[in-house]
Symmetry: C2
DNA sequence: GTGAAAGCGCTAACAA
DNA sequence: TTGTTAGCGCTTTCAC
């Protein structure tokens, strides 16, 4: 129990019924002041004598006064509430949280928002007008919209500012933050090549997300530029089942076996390792393995798995910063923000087992091993 | 683009600046009616002639009118907004989303709430007064509070209704929904015993969550009642690293090796399997394995891992139902709700490999294999 | 069947 | 330095 419920608390503390909430006017009357004065005292505005200010505050505290946020918001013209929705996975509207990437992006967005004074409400993937129409949203963050996403269209039509990835570039009241997918692919494939891989394969879900389309294109370009065969398999959907099946196809389908595998999908790293072994591969002996993942299980396998982090925390941070700039300072001219990825090289993609430590990490400048 | 931005839309559609929002009074003026009438028409209340009702609606639609939710909420006296916070893992306030259990609980709570017209805002684990004080919360859901949780105390002091687990029983304005932890432990250990296990070991995090304490106590009781040794190891924290280490301790520490292992912590099933193998166990030959998990990777390992589901969806559903009953119908007398668990028996805990299918599943009445 | 007016709780002009 | 008053946008008696 805290002070608020102590003696001198709200009227009739032990009354059984709802007990009406203390309003500003109640505090004012009790303190023998006006609403204005009490309001100014609590908000630290206006010119008040120290004694009066203190008296007002003390009375408010004693009475357990808590300002009515809704009334403040009505007055202020905005509710400091933002929506968060993902475009992908609309057929199972809440599964996105089970993906380590979206889990982190979601948490980091909520955290950044709260840090700037905005609350974040969770909306189902692919959500409909009817699900958010009644909410006083100041803006909506749309993570990974699919091509021609209805959510984005509806938000624009409702004139609610949208914060999303680069696919919304050019739309009115839409702003973007994106990850550098091309750099992600190139860096990983360069790393494979540096380790001597000649037949790197790619597994990517068959989605219309900007990220996945860019990955696919970047892979194509890289293979062409390096004169290497373009080995890729598209998983029917994200999710462990389909991705593992796609991996198995990639590992067994061709006439020659691949010597490196880059999985650009949220699949459990231990599961990928197990799948490779099931098909007779030694990692990293026969197959270099890397995957795009925020899943910390990658650290706990034998060998640990190389991952490419999409930096959800940085993306969220940049997105909320942009949001606040737009909402509060009316910023309009923004080219958007591009966040760099991070390759964490681990033993699963390093040929020479003897140098898996410091030597392997020097592979990339912004590579680092998380401090477990 | 939808109709709202078509011809006849809001005033000056292509004006570069903010463009003030259409209010009820604007619609009323445009339609030559009063605010009252338009409001009644849009909310389907009052006695209006069909023509007038239609005219009001049509005008509103044409002008792209969207009611101001904040004003409605102020009028209504509540914001239809609930908070969601977890008590555990307060030292890393957002990691809870990375646990499949909390990810599902969170999503399911948001979904149920939205279905009943409430938006859910995400709060950091162990959050402070200052983080939610400015939000117009009608209630807060506190998942798995730790013993004497500050959040619960603060909410009670602020007189915000709390919905949590059974540990809040008896507090004013607090209501509970819980999972039957004792049944969970007993059912799993009974299953092990039926498979011939004589030395089942338990791994559980060292937390003060009601669930974990109840699990520990239930294990103690069960072992005593069955005259079997009480083998248990407490992981320093939840999370894959500490739990895997605790598992390794459980598998190697004693003079005799355990013949079954029940992991009551969110660890990745493939990782558990790998750990067991690393220490020379064949699963299920030498060791029956089961874990409390909502992680679908359990289905994709060889052998698939037996899991005990804490039914986060059912818990969320029951919790929101209770919340709505309390908030909207003033329900006060409630004993709380106890949700049953579900044991999904799979090959990892079945001795006879030949009967891993139907025979194994008949082990428990409400067991079922998810329809992947 | 329709409209005028009060008021939800707060903040900020403007007066005193 | 402090108080009076208007008004944010909406719903809802209560007259007409």
């Amino acid at each position: 129990m805290t002070e608020a419920s102590g003696p001198g608390g709200p009227p009739s503390p032990q009354a059984g019924r709802p007990a009406p909430r203390v309003r500003l006017v109640d505090v004012a009357r009790e303190a023998g002041l006006s609403k204005t004065t009490v309001s100014a005292a609590l908000n630290d505005t206006g010119r008040l004598s120290p004694e009066v200010r203190e008296r007002a505050r003390e009375t408010a505290r004693r009475m357990g006064y808590r300002p009515n946020a809704t009334a403040r918001h009505l007055r202020a013209g905005r509710a400091r509430l933002i929506g968060y929705v993902v475009g992908e996975l609309a057929d199972a509207p809440w599964t996105f949280l089970e993906s380590p990437y979206f889990a982190r992006l979601t948490g980091a967005t909520a955290a950044s928002a709260l840090g700037r004074g905005y609350a974040m409400v969770l909306l189902p993937a692919g959500s409909l007008q009817s699900e958010w129409a009644a909410l006083p949203l100041d803006a909506v963050v749309v993570a990974d919209p699919v091509a021609d996403d209805r959510i984005v269209e509806d938000l624009v039509a409702a004139r609610i500012p949208v914060f999303s990835d680069r696919s919304v570039e050019g739309l009115p009241e839409a702003h973007w933050v994106d990850v550098d997918a091309t750099a992600a692919v190139h860096r990983t494939l360069d790393h494979f090549a540096a380790q001597g891989a000649r037949r790197p394969a790619l597994v990517v879900p068959d989605s219309t997300t900007r990220f996945h389309r860019e990955v696919f294109a970047a892979h194509h370009d890289w293979c062409a530029a390096h004169g290497l065969p373009e080995l890729s398999v598209r998983a029917a959907e994200p999710g462990n089942g389909p991705v593992v099946r796609a991996v198995e196809t990639a590992l067994t389908a061709g006439p020659e076996r691949p010597d490196a595998l880059f999985v650009v999908a949220e699949a459990s790293p231990p599961l990928l390792l197990e799948a490779a072994r099931r098909h007779g591969y030694d990692v990293p002996g026969d197959l270099l393995l890397a995957c795009v993942s925020e899943d910390e299980t990658a650290l706990h396998t034998q060998p640990p798995v190389t991952t490419l982090s999409l930096r959800p925390d940085a993306v969220a941070e940049a997105g909320i910063e942009l949001l606040v700039a737009v909402l509060e300072h009316g910023q309009r001219e923004t080219g958007g923000v591009l966040v760099p990825v991070r390759l964490d090289v681990r033993a699963s993609s390093v040929r020479n087992p003897g140098t898996s430590g410091a030597a392997a990490r020097s592979q990339s400048p912004n590579t680092s091993a998380p401090p477990t």
